[in-house]
Amino acid sequence: MGQYVLRRLLQMIPVFLGATLLIFLMVNVMGDPVAGLCGDKACDAATAARLKAEFGLDRPVWQQYLTYMGNVFTGDFGTAFNGQEVTALMAASFPVTARLTLVAIVFEVVLGVTLGVLTGLRRGRPVDTGVLMLSLVVISVPTFVTGLLLQLLLGVQWHWITPSVSMAAPYDELIVPGFVLASVSLAYVTRLTRTSIAENRRADHVRTAVAKGLPRRRVIVRHLLRTSLIPVVTFIGSDIGALMGGAIVTERIFNIHGVGFQLYQGILRQNTQTVVGFVTVLVLVFLAANLLVDLLYAVLDPRIRYA
């Protein structure tokens, strides 16, 4: 087990470096990191050169990347456009997005898996067809349209929720945004669970459990659901990263001051430190979630053991 974790951690290093390097290159090579410091006007040549020398931007890109990574590992993510430490921005925004993602994941697990089990056990019945069609419709409407419509209906027309989330962003205000964020993945989790349940219903261990005379409920929850959850857990685990990154759109609609908001500000103001810093942390979260998922397999499926 320990060896396995170690091997996975080692494999993550190139992925982490590659992904951060890619973002670093995108930001630094495509855009001009100094341009944002002079406001809307272009910097004059002397100022630009001085700023570049001050920030070490006159050195080759690989050196810049190494310096940046070196700083990141000592916890120094640089300063944002308004002089705040990027780490301070992260401390303010990551909890908000983490809460939003958590709400989304709860929706995916509770609603998605429940619907998936229901439809998987009733394959071909009207409820199955209905939920399948509904999931396709949800998948085909872009998240931001779903978000805008729900905000309009629930927030503005029916006054069920406040249309925009306050700065503190407590859980109860994040329910609808979390649902919007989860919607596409939710539909996918439903489909995934359905397929998996329908496949595993004919598995030997389920037949054995039925033959033993176990109550139907126990067969479904303990024997059928447990092994069927493996692909679902894979998806949800790797979806965490996508949700946190994709929260940009949802956070924009509901005015949530989370990671997406800060990233958007960073990009608008051409602040490399903010963008690269946040993306670095997002990539780390994504990789950690993936590792966690792999370790969960052994819990869910007793046939999988890590040497």
Partner: protein, 366 residues
């Protein structure tokens, strides 16, 4: 094809989901090529995973003889059907199925219609999408203008019809690029293996770790072009790893088949093996994933436009219209609903088409 009992059923209930994610396992149960990937195959969100998942289940060893026919029960031998009728290839068999599938027919008709109006929008819309009258701004439906007017007083119907062209163009071009780049790279990696394969696998992992909207925001915010090419290029850049992974897996599965070994033993060159024997049998999952991905790229274009880094006016596209209408959703929801509806219908049509093609190509489901 002779039966090889020592090889486990490639689609046993547990095969597709090994400890390292659904697509890293090969048909014989061994780990693919260089070992497990560091990340599970996603990062692009639910819709692309739908596409990938659909395609991955197609990864059985494709052979010219499909599995059990529709009439025989599951226990009947695979060849029973061919004794009765003229043997058909996988593709003509799939076509035979598709022609009778109402879902396929409906989605194909919708797509055909969209293609026609994207080529010549003037067939059903006589107006000019760029001629607007501010006096009519945000007005609702009136005779001659069934969808009403948008914030600039342009006719929403005309703009929705004309928007089809750009949206479809982005989808088709991005899909073509992704499918071509992904299948060539993935196919070569799967066929030759070795260092190139290892490098490519790590490279795809890197791309999967970057959330798509985020990457778009970073990459496209510095681009100042008015054309659709930056958006298409970005989609190709972040989309190819998905297809490459599927193509690689598919080529690995096909490459192990007896007829490939036979062709190799007869002295066929790499080019001939790849083009004549492997490609036709390995292309099915790529086609399915590409069809579904086409829909998702159209939706992605709209999302990018909404975030402000996608296409720019005066280009007419659904994404631009939806994002332009979003601030006025309280006063004039029709401005948003019509283009959004057209967008959703298009995405739905492509997903359903991909679904139907997948079902037709998967002999296991018959």
């Amino acid at each position: 094809m002779p039966e090889r009992p020592e090889e486990p059923e490639p689609h046993g209930p547990y095969e597709p989901y090994g400890p390292f994610g659904p697509y890293e396992y090969e048909a014989d149960g061994t780990l693919a090529g260089t070992g497990p990937g560091a990340v599970a195959p996603t990062g692009t969100g639910g819709t692309m995973d739908l596409a990938a998942g659909e395609a991955a289940t197609l990864r059985r060893p494709p052979s010219p003889e499909p599995g059990p026919g529709p009439e025989p029960g599951p226990k009947e031998p695979a060849k029973a059907r061919h004794r009765r009728g003229k043997p058909r290839s996988l593709w003509s068999d799939a076509w035979h199925d598709l022609r009778r599938n109402p879902v396929f027919l409906a989605s194909a008709l919708v797509i055909l219609f969209l293609l026609v109006i994207s080529v010549s929008p003037s067939l059903i819309a006589s107006g000019d999408p760029l001629s607007c009258d501010l006096a009519h701004a945000q007005e609702g439906s009136t005779p001659g203008h069934p969808f009403g007017f948008d914030g600039q007083g342009c006719d929403v119907y005309t703009r929705t019809v004309y928007g089809t062209r750009v949206s479809i163009a982005v989808g088709v071009l991005a899909t073509a690029g992704v499918a071509l780049l992904g299948s060539v790279l993935g196919g070569l990696a799967g066929y030759f293996g070795g260092t190139g394969d290892a490098v490519l696998s790590r490279l795809t992992d890197v791309f999967f770790a970057i959330p798509v909207v985020l990457g778009g925001l970073v990459l496209l915010s510095v681009v100042t072009s008015d054309t659709i090419w930056p958006v298409v290029g970005f989609m190709v850049l972040l989309g190819w790893p998905q297809v490459s992974r599927i193509a690689r897996g598919s080529v690995l599965t096909v490459g192990r088949q007896d007829y490939i070994q036979a062709a190799r033993a007869l002295g066929a060159s790499h080019t001939r093996l790849l083009l004549r024997h492997i490609a036709p049998n390995a292309v099915a999952p790529v086609i399915v994933v590409a069809t579904i991905a086409l829909g998702t790229y159209i939706a992605l274009e709209a999302t990018l436009s909404y975030v402000g880094v996608g296409l720019r006016p005066p280009t007419v596209s659904w994404g631009i219209d939806i994002s332009a209408a979003s601030p006025y959703i309280r006063q004039a929801p029709h401005m948003l609903l019509w283009p959004a509806g057209a967008l959703a219908l298009t995405v739905l049509a492509f997903i359903m088409l991909g679904d139907a093609v997948r079902d037709a190509l998967d002999p296991k489901l018959r």
